[in-house]
Subunit: 224 residues, 2 copies
Amino acid sequence: MKNLLSSIKISVPEKIFLKDPESSDLGKRIIGNGISLIAEIGFDSFTFKKLGTKIGSNESSIYRYFENKHKFLLYLTSWYWAWIEYQLVFSTSNVSDKTERLLKAIEVVTRTIKEDNNFTHVNEVTLNQIIINENSKSFLTKEVDSENKEGYFVVYKRLVSRIKEMILDINPDYKYASSISSTIIEGALHQHFLKDHFSSITDCDTVTPTKFFQELTINAIKPN
Amino acid sequence: MKNLLSSIKISVPEKIFLKDPESSDLGKRIIGNGISLIAEIGFDSFTFKKLGTKIGSNESSIYRYFENKHKFLLYLTSWYWAWIEYQLVFSTSNVSDKTERLLKAIEVVTRTIKEDNNFTHVNEVTLNQIIINENSKSFLTKEVDSENKEGYFVVYKRLVSRIKEMILDINPDYKYASSISSTIIEGALHQHFLKDHFSSITDCDTVTPTKFFQELTINAIKPN
DNA sequence: TAGAATTAATAGTAATACTATCATATTTGC
DNA sequence: GCAAATATGATAGTATTACTATTAATTCTA
């Protein structure tokens, strides 16, 4: 995985940025340090001014890469979901058993990220923390419909569709394939959050979100 | 329901407000118009200054009721969940069949709110829209742990626990009672959001979130 | 090595998220 | 019915945010 990822470029919808941060050293420092700053102080307190100070660069330079901090968050979420999608496709591609394939896919989208591939400027463990805490804020806005039209959420939607297809592949008659797929992906983030902050209303302090969602899904899609 | 609700006061953790908005006319106008303003412009653009203008009152007067707009959101979410909890308790209290009771409870937390009881200053239909769009923002903050200690989320957690207990009542061996309960409540909001903005990744444009979560839960907790 | 492109520095604006103070109503307790 | 307490309104002020604009300094490239 390490070697493969270092040669593959995660692709993010182009309209999200003004200038591709992957294309320069400054851009990469914006991403790398942006991730650690958001993880540290939270997205709500995050500003380009603070990030500029952190990387010893100017606020106005960051504005040349991203219109505003919301676009920056969209960049990070798209990057993250594209990275997850890549893992999902890769780790299910040679699995012939349909159920095994689905279980593997659920694992990929629900597991705890523990290892940073330590190669790119992106620390995936930290980014995963950000996704758990901030992902919803990327679409819970008044601009969601126009941003959706611009294609800012294609990666996320494609990921939901992939798992939906795997479910329909097992049981074409299951009526809620899209809903359960979107529930797994968003629900897993929520369970990880609860584990960290509201442990009394989750079981995922002792059992993994992966196990929970795997069993839930298998029981749900079983024909009866 | 109408008559009952008009005589019962929904109770919100006291530390959330500086002065109980139910205790004065101005307070009630703050809540009532606050709800419609947030629904209109979104929580991110909402300010006390704008609300002051809307109700023909002064910004500083609103600050005497709520420390800041985040506390205001906590007030609205607590009120909403307390209102839902009341309906849940009321509509399950005389149901002797355990499964029927659980299905009723799931209905209460997942259904579309269509009717405003039109009696209090709170429009529940509009408030429900706010909850769908803004609920996550009440806890996805850096202050979540200290605010949790202050008891700001008790109502929400108690609601999750009530459904968890109903599940364990049916199958005491089910290992994920808390997780599925929290998934139903949060997941239902998410499905309602998807229905409105990302209809391609939900089935809830044709089938209801209620049906989806009822079937999901019944299949999940079945002993095997 | 000139010209283009990138980044840095500085300044400025309107809005936000408050706090503080003082004035004016309104309520209530005696 | 009046004084005291309480609630609300009006005004002003501050630090920060979220930018935009302009100009200067670097660096990269043909």
